[in-house]
């Protein structure tokens, strides 16, 4: 096979594009105090904001919106990568991200997560061939039903040549 005829291993561009509209199974995520503490610590934000015995409902780190969404999307990261014929070993990367918070994330609250794949494009650049996958999540407060946040993301999946 000539160099110009080589194709990225795995799924074709059409197969990848066919995943647009696929819904995540979704689920729910409770912002437990220990989790909020550790995430804030890892983010260098000061875990004293989520002290043991603190009030339920205190604002949690805003990163919890993305975290809740991805923890309760209903598939693992490897399962998500596999939707597009990729895996963690291929070196997937974040492309872009947007979160809109309609209300603060709060310690002790449970959030319902839903979402779907919104775009899938094959591209090529200096680093080779890659797919750019867009997907969106919506978060609602389980108790009140209030719309709390929207998270849009794009994921870059490098393609190795076969």
């Amino acid at each position: 096979m000539s160099e110009t005829a080589r194709e990225p291993a795995g799924m074709s561009a059409d197969d990848v594009a066919a995943r647009i509209g696929r819904a995540f199974p979704g689920g729910e995520f409770t912002v437990e105090r220990w989790f909020a503490w550790l995430l804030a610590d890892a983010a260098l934000a000061g875990p004293e904001t989520s002290t043991p015995g603190g009030p339920v409902g205190e604002p949690a780190h805003p990163l919890l919106a993305w975290t809740a969404a991805t923890q309760a999307m209903g598939v693992t990261w490897d399962e998500l990568f596999s939707w597009f014929g990729s895996s963690a070993d291929d070196g997937p990367m974040f492309g872009e991200h947007e979160t809109v918070w309609h209300a603060p994330m709060r310690v002790g609250r449970t959030y319902l997560v839903s979402g779907e794949v919104t775009s899938a494009d094959r591209k090529s650049g200096r680093s080779g061939v890659f797919d750019v996958i867009g997907y969106v999540f919506r978060l609602h407060d389980k108790e009140s039903g209030a719309h709390v946040a929207d998270c849009w993301n794009s994921l870059i999946l490098p393609r190795r040549l076969s």
Partner: protein, 167 residues
């Protein structure tokens, strides 16, 4: 240089941080927020919390195999979180961060020193449940100190306006 925001991010003093650095208007710079040295152990904690199997965050052998050097690569969400910390420090609390859109332009590696900053691009007033609030749009950036920008984007924070309960 500290790896924590000088102002913290949970202060109940609302726009006090913003007020201290001058009139709120386009062109005003937000206070920088620094990371003295990115810690690989935080990446391991984050990988476990997020159930993220991507080895570039914790397995240097995998990094070398992928031709990506030998310093672990920080999770993108942590890079976003540093910008959120900067915004919350400026606005006076987590709950004041209303929108963040970012593009990931490069990798942050274990040991890097970082600076998160921003500049006000627009100031608007809107009605809120407990009175007026001021919405402040910003351009934001996270850069490696003495290096390149690794994340750029835009954000909106809310500051209490006249008549609000938080004023």
């Amino acid at each position: 240089m500290s790896d924590r925001a000088d102002e913290g991010v949970t202060g109940a003093d609302g726009a006090a941080v913003a007020d201290r650095i001058g009139p709120l208007s386009p062109g005003m710079r937000l206070p920088d927020w620094h990371v003295a040295k990115v810690d690989g152990e935080k990446m391991k904690t984050t990988a476990a919390l997020l159930r993220d199997p991507t080895p570039i965050h914790w397995d240097t052998a995998a990094l070398r195999e992928l031709g990506m050097g030998d310093r672990a690569i920080n999770q993108g969400p942590l890079n976003m979180a540093y910008v959120m910390n900067m915004l919350a420090g400026f606005a006076g609390g987590y709950e004041r961060v209303r929108r963040l859109r970012v593009r990931f332009r490069g990798n942050v590696r274990e040991g890097d020193s970082l600076r998160a900053g921003g500049v006000v691009t627009d100031v608007r007033r809107q009605r809120a449940d407990d009175g007026d609030e001021i919405l402040c749009d910003c351009d934001v950036e996270l850069s490696v100190v003495d290096g390149d920008a690794v994340l750029t984007g835009t954000a909106t924070v809310a500051l209490p306006g006249k008549g609000s309960g938080d004023e």
